[in-house]
């Protein structure tokens, strides 16, 4: 199977659609660097393998941050598209991979195949076609069908890469993959794990056998702690305890008026189940003790009411005493009322006298003013009697009334007011004491009423009778309480006894069980889990044994096949190396087999490793020779018949470039060669001195607006 043409569009440096035929034995893409040569070769990889070739994980370190689409000016929204036209045993087929311009990173490409019957396959059916068609997987393609300049040295210098490539060269990919799979599963380690599992289980079995004996010892120590004699560790003793527990509990239940079920004394399991719950049952709801809380509550009520009554009564007596003292010292209510009335009259009298004095002063002032205005100063303006010195006399009278008389009357008024205030104050004090006494008396009545209610006696009962009755009833309640508390205390003591007995019975029963276990042996084979474990173990051991056997067989077969293939491969390798280098140095593949692994190396005629003694140009030549030998072998197996060489002449001198052109010419006998090269001696060699038909494609300068372009295509 081989590609006959490739069509690219918007792939890396290529923008508009270009189709290049690949059906000539040799197709050469000739261009200066950065014109799209490598991109064209990469397009084949992307078309066949998709995203894997664009990443560092592709096996080519330089693919990191590799852009699928190089941005150019006026870039449109057309998808990236590569189509490979194939020639297959059944006819022609088309493989197309497309990716939209704005596809998201995780978005899948559109991948379609048109088979030789014209059927268009997509998705899984397209992938299946690819897998069945004989197109190599990416790893094989990378190692056996293309030469990436950036990975050339690694192909032969890296031990892992070289060994894998040489295995491919020997046609032993399957051998290598099979052995990798087997070895990655580490079959020998499985037996170590099986041994560890068995050892752990064995320890567990021993522990299981020892455990009952240890348990027995622990129980016997515990028996001593709870004062069980060793002769009590028996079935008959257990029966006695069971019987004792039930009989005592029945008695307690009767005392507590409890109605509850009891197990049969001979029913060990029933007694076990009941005994652990009995304390809670006995404590929970005894009718006999139901009234205890009521009695306690009633006694507390009595105590509280009597205390309150005594307290209020004391306060009342104090109020009465104060009232009596006040009455004795300052008179009773009537006397104080009379005092206030008298003081009021005195004040009124003083007020009147003062007013009369003021009126008299006013009259005399008016008279004086009239005399002053009259012609005859000694004539009385009222009786017209002639009074000598009348004005002076009026003046003197006014002065007397305004000073001495006024002061005396005002003092009398103040005195009367003070007496009234004092009388009122005395009355208020007595009134307050009367009110206080009445208020406290009300509270006393209230307390008495409460007591009467509590005692259920009528109002006619005298106070001292109420208190006496209260004392009597309180003593009666206390007597009830004392009795019931005695019952509760007895219950608690019996429950404690029950728990102690139950603890002893429990220990005896556990001791009996442990004795039975200690005396019996464990039969592992009787455990269903054990037989299932053995089945699983056998299956794992069988798998491990088969895998180890296959690993050993595969190693032997690989060693044999390596040796049988080596001669043929070495012939091709030697031929190409000699053609490229023009050197007779024999380089061959050496197979190194140990009990654990098989490795491949490139050695010289003396079986010394070749790589360390070669210069860069010779390493490149060797890398190319290995690739050519691989391609020849693959082509002869009717597999992929195209080898892609990206600038293979780089670092080769003139002589080796000429040799490379001859090697390509030789290889073109077996499969098509697609080679990219810069213009120069090597490309001239391909164009002018090779005898095979070749298709020469020259690329024009890369344009920012149009991308890569084909300048000329010539068939020679």
């Amino acid at each position: 199977m081989k590609p006959t043409a490739i069509t690219v569009s918007h792939f890396r440096g290529w923008k508009s659609e270009h189709r290049i035929t690949l059906d000539a034995p040799i197709t050469a893409i000739v261009a200066e660097n950065a014109r799209g040569k490598s991109s064209l070769l990469n397009a084949i990889e992307w078309c066949l393998y998709g995203a894997v070739v664009t990443q560092k994980g592709s096996g080519i370190d330089e693919r990191q941050n590799w852009e699928l689409r190089t941005r150019v000016e006026n870039d449109d929204t057309e998808p990236t598209s590569v189509t490979l036209e194939l020639e297959t045993a059944e006819g022609s087929a088309l493989i197309t991979r497309e990716r939209s311009a704005n596809a998201k990173a995780r978005e899948a490409d559109e991948f379609t195949i048109q088979d030789s019957n014209g059927n268009v396959l997509t998705a899984d059916s397209a992938e299946s076609w690819l897998a069945d068609s004989g197109i190599p997987d990416w790893e094989t393609y990378r190692r056996a069908h293309c030469f990436h300049q950036e990975a050339a040295r690694q192909r032969v210098v890296s031990t892992t890469e070289r060994s894998a490539i040489l295995a491919t060269l020997l046609g032993l990919d399957d051998d290598l993959a099979l052995r990798n799979t087997i070895e990655s599963n580490q079959p020998s380690k499985l037996f170590t794990e099986i041994d560890k599992t068995l050892e752990a289980l064995n320890e567990e079995a021993h522990r299981a056998l020892d455990l009952p004996r240890q348990r027995l010892g622990e129980l016997e120590s515990r028996a001593i702690e709870i004062r069980l004699d060793s002769n009590q560790l028996s079935e008959s003793s257990a029966n006695t305890f069971r019987s004792q527990l039930v009989v005592r509990a029945r008695d307690l239940a009767a005392r507590l008026d409890l109605t509850t079920d009891f197990p049969d004394e001979s029913d060990a399991a029933g007694v076990r189940n009941w005994a652990s719950k009995w304390p809670a049952t006995a404590r929970s709801s005894s009718p006999a003790l139901a009234s205890l809380e009521d009695h306690r509550r009633r006694a507390a009520q009595f105590d509280q009411l009597v205390t309150d009554h005594q307290q209020v009564d004391g306060t009342w007596q104090e109020a009465q005493s104060k009232l009596q003292q006040e009455r004795q010292s300052g008179g009773d209510e009537a006397q104080r009322e009379a005092g206030v009335t008298a003081a009021n009259a005195k004040l009124t009298e003083a007020n009147t006298a003062l007013e009369q004095n003021n009126a008299k002063v006013k009259l005399l002032v008016d008279a004086k003013a009239a005399i002053k205005a009259a012609d005859h100063k000694d004539e009385c303006p009222v009786c017209e009697t002639d009074v000598p010195g009348l004005e002076e006399r009026l003046e003197a009278e006014i002065e007397t009334l305004r000073s001495d008389e006024f002061v005396a009357l005002q003092a009398a008024q103040d005195g009367a007011r003070k007496k009234l205030d004092h009388a009122k104050s005395a009355k208020d004090v007595l009134d307050a004491l009367v009110s206080a006494e009445a208020r406290v008396r009300g509270r006393v009545d209230e307390q008495r009423e409460k007591l009467r209610e509590l005692l259920s006696i009528n109002e006619s009962t005298a106070v001292h009778d109420v208190l006496a009755e209260a004392k009597k009833q309180r003593e009666s309640i206390q007597s009830e309480i004392t009795g019931l508390e005695g019952l509760a205390s007895d219950r608690d003591r019996r429950i404690e006894d029950h728990q102690a007995d139950w603890g002893q019975l429990d220990l005896i029963e556990k001791w009996l069980g442990a004795t039975e276990k200690a005396e019996s042996s464990i039969d592992l084979s009787a455990l269903p889990e054990w037989s299932e474990f053995n089945e699983a173990l056998d299956e794992l051991a069988g798998f491990g044994s088969d895998l180890a056997f296959l690993g050993s067989l595969a190693r032997d077969v690989q060693a044999e096949r390596s040796k049988s293939r080596a001669a043929e491969v070495n012939k091709a390798l030697g031929k190409y190396y000699s053609l490229i280098t023009q050197d007779d140095t024999a380089i061959k593949v050496s197979v190194h087999t140990t009990a654990q692994r098989i490795s491949y190396n490139l050695v010289d005629a003396s079986d010394r490793p070749a790589v360390p003694i070669l210069n860069q140009a010779a390493i490149n030549a060797l890398s190319l020779a290995v690739l050519f030998a691989q391609s020849e072998a693959q082509a002869s197996a009717d597999s992929w018949e195209l080898v892609v060489l990206d600038d293979p002449a780089q670092s080769l001198d003139t002589e080796k470039q000429a040799g490379l052109a001859r090697a390509i010419e030789e290889l073109a006998d077996c499969c098509s060669v697609l080679v990219a090269a810069v213009p120069g001696q090597f490309s001239d060699r391909i164009q002018d001195f090779v005898s095979k038909p070749r298709h020469m494609v020259t690329l024009g300068p890369w344009s920012q607006t149009d991308g890569a372009s084909i300048e000329s295509e010539v068939d020679r």
Binding site: D174, L178, T181, E204, L527, E529, L540, F549
Partner: protein, 63 residues
């Protein structure tokens, strides 16, 4: 003969657990593309089953 045919032949010649080994070989062959994932899963499953059964047996011994 390819690798698989050679191995089949050798397994048959050896005459021990032939059926199981041929089945395992077929698994390895079909597992070729997946890098041995199916065989690894089978191994893990068998190891887990043994561990599980060992744990159950231990539990049974403790009862």
């Amino acid at each position: 003969m390819d690798l698989w045919s050679v191995l089949e032949e050798r397994i048959k010649q050896h005459g021990v657990r032939v059926e199981e080994r041929l089945e395992l070989l077929a698994g390895l062959k079909s597992d070729h593309e997946t890098g041995g994932a199916v065989i690894s899963e089978r191994k893990e499953m068998l190891v887990l089953r043994v561990d599980d059964m060992a744990a159950r047996s231990k539990e049974a011994l403790r009862v």
